[in-house]
């Protein structure tokens, strides 16, 4: 199993570094361009969620890319996005509803997890007071 690990500081647009790595690995295992794009979008969302909400003291996000399967026959990509922030209760989150966001005068935020789940084949979210870990997979 091949693995690439990035440790990203929480600076503006650092999510693009993770996105570029996802593209390189997706191309390496000959994923379709659309699937690669979907992974890139999901990785961007997971990173900016951590940047925006984790309040991690170390101000870093760790991203681990794993090629699933064998070198000769890769099956897909697994990406883990992890922070050491304050965590949240995934089960308590209500999926956003665009209709309900109109006319509130508030910002229309809160879409990240919905997008990640919509674009990836499998998503597992673990979160507690020691941080959050999102594991997502996309098969070839």
């Amino acid at each position: 199993m091949q693995e690439v690990t990035l440790e990203l500081p929480m600076f503006a647009d650092m999510e693009l570094t993770a996105s570029k790595t996802a593209r390189a690995l997706g191309e390496q295992i000959r994923m379709s361009p659309d699937k690669i794009d979907e992974i890139r979008q999901a990785v961007i969302e997971a990173c900016i969620n951590a940047f925006e909400h984790s309040r991690a003291q170390d101000e870093k996000v760790r991203v681990v890319f794993k090629i699933l399967g064998t070198h000769r026959e890769p099956d897909g990509l697994q990406i883990t996005v992890q922070d050491r922030g304050i965590g949240f209760a995934p089960g308590m989150l209500t999926p956003p509803d665009l209709k309900k966001k109109f006319g509130t005068g508030k910002r229309k935020r809160g879409w990240g997890l919905m997008i990640i789940k919509g674009l990836m084949d499998e998503v597992d979210i673990q979160s507690d007071e020691e941080g959050t870990r999102i594991v997502m997979r996309k098969m070839r």
């Binding site: 979907e38 900016i48 925006e52 665009l98 006319g103 229309k108 879409w111 919509g118």
Partner: protein, 117 residues
């Protein structure tokens, strides 16, 4: 290190097309909103965002586009999109944006449809 978004505007009869080039993140979304609100102030009630030059967006940037849609609904106007990548279009569908904004394959189809409507 922020990737700046480049915009250009093509004004037609009653319709303005905003062409984007680059990443639509927080700053990019704000820049599109600034241009869109200027066009609304100039009397344009139909805006078309041509994203041919945008291959990546993030949900913060999209959330600002939703605020433009909200504004257009308030003034009985329209915001539409064209030339989306498959993934951006899928993302818009996941978020439910497609219910409130037209999505067209290319600018020619969009302009014909919007000018006719």
């Amino acid at each position: 290190m922020t990737e700046s978004l480049k915009l250009s505007v093509d004004r037609r009869d009653g319709l303005a097309v905003i062409h984007t080039e680059g990443y639509i993140n927080n700053q990019g979304g704000e820049e599109i909103a600034r241009v869109a609100y200027e066009l609304i102030d100039q009397g344009f009630k139909t805006l078309l965002l041509n994203l041919a030059g945008t291959k990546i967006v993030n949900s913060i940037g999209i959330s600002i586009l939703i605020e433009i849609i909200e504004k257009m609904l308030e003034i009985d106007g329209k915001l539409a999109f064209c030339n989306l990548t498959n993934t951006i279009e899928k993302t818009f569908h996941i978020m439910g944006l497609a219910q409130y904004a037209g999505i067209y394959a290319d600018e020619g189809v969009a302009v014909a449809e919007l000018a006719g409507g």
